[in-house]
């Protein structure tokens, strides 16, 4: 399936819900959304990837790009993902050490709050 993107604010953190496939074709749309959010001064982001069916290195590049952008404003970009096939590419590339990866959106928010 194609990529569906949505976002909403919860407890002061912007939650980005991603559904479908993030690849070389669809990743630019996610990148544009992350840029738009940062330009709108949302610097605390959680990307919910529980409904992501496919992720490749292009998608990883977009997430890393988003992380760089929010960190430039002392912000954060955490991920929600429990799917083994998606987690695998984060492990292969060593990005599990770069992103906070949580089981639920509430866990991600709680972890962010605990760090403040």
């Amino acid at each position: 399936m194609d990529l569906k993107l949505d976002h909403h604010t919860k407890d002061g953190i912007e939650i980005v819900d991603v559904e479908g496939e993030i690849d070389v074709y669809t990743a630019p749309r996610l990148r544009e959304l992350l840029i738009e959010l940062v330009n709108s001064r949302f610097y605390q982001l959680v990307v919910n990837m529980e409904k992501v069916e496919f992720l490749d290195s292009t998608g990883l590049g977009v997430l890393v790009g988003g992380l760089k952008r929010v960190r430039a404003h002392d912000g954060s970009l955490d991920l929600v993902c429990t799917q083994e096939r998606i987690l695998k590419i984060f492990r292969i590339t060593g990005l599990t050490k770069v992103f906070g990866i949580h089981d639920t959106v509430d866990d991600a928010i709680a972890a962010r709050r605990a760090e403040k």
Binding site: D23, Y25, D56, G61, G65, K68, T93
Partner: protein, 142 residues
């Protein structure tokens, strides 16, 4: 001769089609279900890399994908026709900050492929680059 050959215009939208075809042929060739996600991801990485290279250097040329059911192995070969001057080892893109999405470290796509397939051969010639990779298979199902 390959079991299935696919030649497609170097557009990102076609990479998904290539992944779907490769996964379907892999399943038909008897690749274990537990490996199909790896096939899908590795083929996607190789095709993304080829498409980005073609878009930058030879957009009119098609990307070629060959899927072959060998004895006990399912082999995939993705071939680009980027000129030697354009040769790179992009990770679904070229150097950092270039390509369709940017922010992808050079070589990340290749690194992912090498970690997914247990047999990867990258052959760079004056005609372009081919990435050949394979997985164990049980042979074609009837």
């Amino acid at each position: 001769m390959a079991t299935v050959e696919l030649s497609f215009t170097a557009l990102p939208a076609h990479v998904r089609t290539a992944r779907l075809v490769a996964t379907a042929v892999a399943r038909r060739s008897g690749v274990d279900e537990s490996l199909l996600d790896e096939v899908r991801l590795a083929v996607g990485e190789a095709c993304s890399r080829a498409v980005e290279g073609h878009q930058l250097f030879c957009p009119a040329e098609p990307v070629r994908l060959a899927l072959t059911d060998l004895a006990g192995r399912f082999q995939v070969e993705v071939t680009d026709t980027c000129s030697p001057d354009a040769r790179w080892r992009g990770g679904a893109g070229g150097p950092v900050g270039t390509g369709i999405t940017g922010s992808v470290p050079a070589g990340l796509g290749i690194a992912v492929i090498e970690s997914l397939a247990d047999d990867v051969q990258i052959n760079e010639t004056s005609a372009g680059t081919s990435i050949r990779m394979s997985w164990p298979s049980a042979g074609a199902t009837s």
